[in-house]
């Protein structure tokens, strides 16, 4: 407090406290990328030390859209906290819905009817496709291709229309409830989903024809930002970022939840761990999500969509629980501590982008500035999820 502009040295706190690399000489330039840089998708800032066009050191600066979601968890009741989840990661909101609802269900011992489990799988996977579509369009936009995002948004729009039918919203969904989901799927939803999948299957090969083989894209992605497995483990990377490096780690398989064990799907992996592999993994995952939704639509039983015995003013017993699900960006974890009261004692949200962004500093070291933009995009960051 007591901030005095005149007595302050140049720059803000993070620029003043930026420690250049030890061998730095006079011609190094300290540059601010962001917080409003178009490639940062949200408000992320990276302080970089440049030697000509090369990055010598990068330091992400976070917190521009920090909302203290974890504190909100402690002042709201268990149920009141539900809508917050759609706002942590607005692109794959249903996965966050699921992580929190699943944690509370485990803590309180709430049974979920089978139909609700299938509904969750169907809606969560639809949401995963829409999340990957937005990444696909936006990443290519970063790399200078304008058209793909128009195609991506045309399909994403259809998914949002479908999800709107049952959730009532288009982006920040709050659809899952303790013990089920808020509304049953109607015939209209099922038909619209089937129609969409049928058409979307023809779109993915078109995406590949349009973009994947493109020389410019390959030049900007191949051998760029190669992430070795050992480094991924040191940082706790998960999701497509980790799978791009060749490890088939998917929470849906590694720590199975809901009805995923009964569904047949592959976990796509890359070979080299470069930006191109991360790209390929995400596109392949969309095909897998289609397969999952089709199976779930077939296997979905009749019955209630929500457990009617869950008390309005839920008070889970004292204790702790850790629950994880696979989101579009990786492992979403919720660590809850309850003291048996009407509000959580502590809510800790493990966001996958948080760990994935952390390795950016090391990955960007020694690369061209333009490649760093490609690397940043290939990590598929959602800044509100990192800042929470």
């Amino acid at each position: 407090m007591g901030f005095n502009w005149l007595s302050e040295p140049r720059g803000d706190y993070y620029t003043r406290h930026f420690v250049p690399t030890p061998e730095a000489e006079g011609d190094r330039l300290i540059l601010n990328l962001g917080p409003q840089h178009p490639s940062t998708h949200g408000v992320l800032r990276v302080v970089v030390e440049m030697d000509g066009e090369y990055i010598m050191k990068a330091e992400p600066v976070l917190g521009y859209i920090h909302r203290m979601q974890e504190k909100m968890g402690e002042v709201k009741t268990w149920r009141q906290y539900l809508p917050n989840m759609g706002r942590v990661d607005y692109l794959h909101a249903l996965a966050w819905n699921w992580a929190y609802v699943g944690a509370v269900e485990k803590l309180a011992g709430i049974e979920v009817p089978p139909r609700a489990e299938y509904i969750r799988v169907i809606t969560c996977e639809l949401n995963r496709i829409s999340s990957h579509l937005l990444w696909w369009g936006a990443y290519l936009l970063d790399l200078g291709a304008f058209t793909p995002i128009l195609y991506a948004f045309a399909d994403r729009e259809r998914i949002m229309d479908i999800l709107q039918m049952v959730t009532g919203s288009r982006l920040t969904y709050c659809y899952y409830r303790f013990g089920g989901v808020s509304a049953d799927l109607g015939e209209g939803f099922i038909q619209a989903t089937r129609d969409f999948l049928k058409q979307f299957k023809t779109r993915i090969p078109m995406f590949h024809d349009l973009v994947t083989g493109n020389m410019i894209l390959r030049g900007r992605c191949e051998q760029i930002g190669v992430l070795p497995l050992e480094m991924a483990r040191r940082y706790g990377a998960t999701g497509p970022v980790l799978r791009g490096s060749g490890l088939a780690y998917d929470t849906r398989r590694a720590e199975p939840y809901s009805v995923y064990p009964s569904l047949d799907f592959q976990v796509p992996v890359g070979v080299n761990g470069d930006a191109m592999d991360r790209y390929d993994v995400r596109l392949a995952e969309m095909t897998q999500s289609i397969a999952i939704i089709e199976q779930a639509l077939e296997a979905m039983p009749d019955g209630p969509h929500i457990n009617p015995d869950v008390h309005e003013r839920l008070k889970p017993p004292a204790g702790e629980v850790y629950y994880a699900v696979e989101g579009g960006r990786g492992k979403i974890g919720v660590h809850l501590i309850s003291d048996g009261g009407p509000r959580p004692y502590r809510v800790k949200l493990r966001s996958p982008s948080f760990c994935n962004l952390q390795l950016f500093a090391e990955l960007a070291q020694g690369t061209l500035l333009a490649d760093a933009v490609s690397i940043l995009g290939s990590l598929d960051l959602v800044i509100p999820e990192i800042d929470r």
Binding site: G63, K71, Y249, E320, H335, R346, R388
Partner: protein, 170 residues
Amino acid sequence: MKEGVDKLGAVLEGLAKLPGDQCWGLARTDHQRHGIHAACQLEAGALIPAARLLLAEGFFLEDVSAADLSEGVLLSYHFDLYDACRRVVLRLLVPRERLTAPSLAGVYTGADWHEREIFDFFGVIFTEHPNLKPLLLPDDLDQRPLNKRPEERRSLYALLPQEQLVRSKP
């Protein structure tokens, strides 16, 4: 799957070999109920050796969680395996009079930001941390938002299963 069981066993054996006054309350927990396979309460001096043990067995750091309790700030380091889910939590109780803990960033590079976040929210100082600056909160904020008022704090013994809190070997 067997491999994961073996690695968990190896870690538990290694933890049990730590000096008795450094490691207490080492227990397997019910994954079905808590989502955690094993928990271990440590003293500050044993944290880094324990983390090295987990690193050698191939565990990765999922996250570091903290909670303000009446005994102090409880840090929970969650580790997991990539090949099969075996969640191990190392716990460290930091007394309120001296809010310092050793930094894990030298062992797991990814601990860096998790610790900075806890520094922001709880004011715990991590010694030997390479870059302990505010991460999410403004640099001139002098409040620790997740610290509770004294009357709101609950005891460790009221929140965690008893078997995790006694000095015994699994």
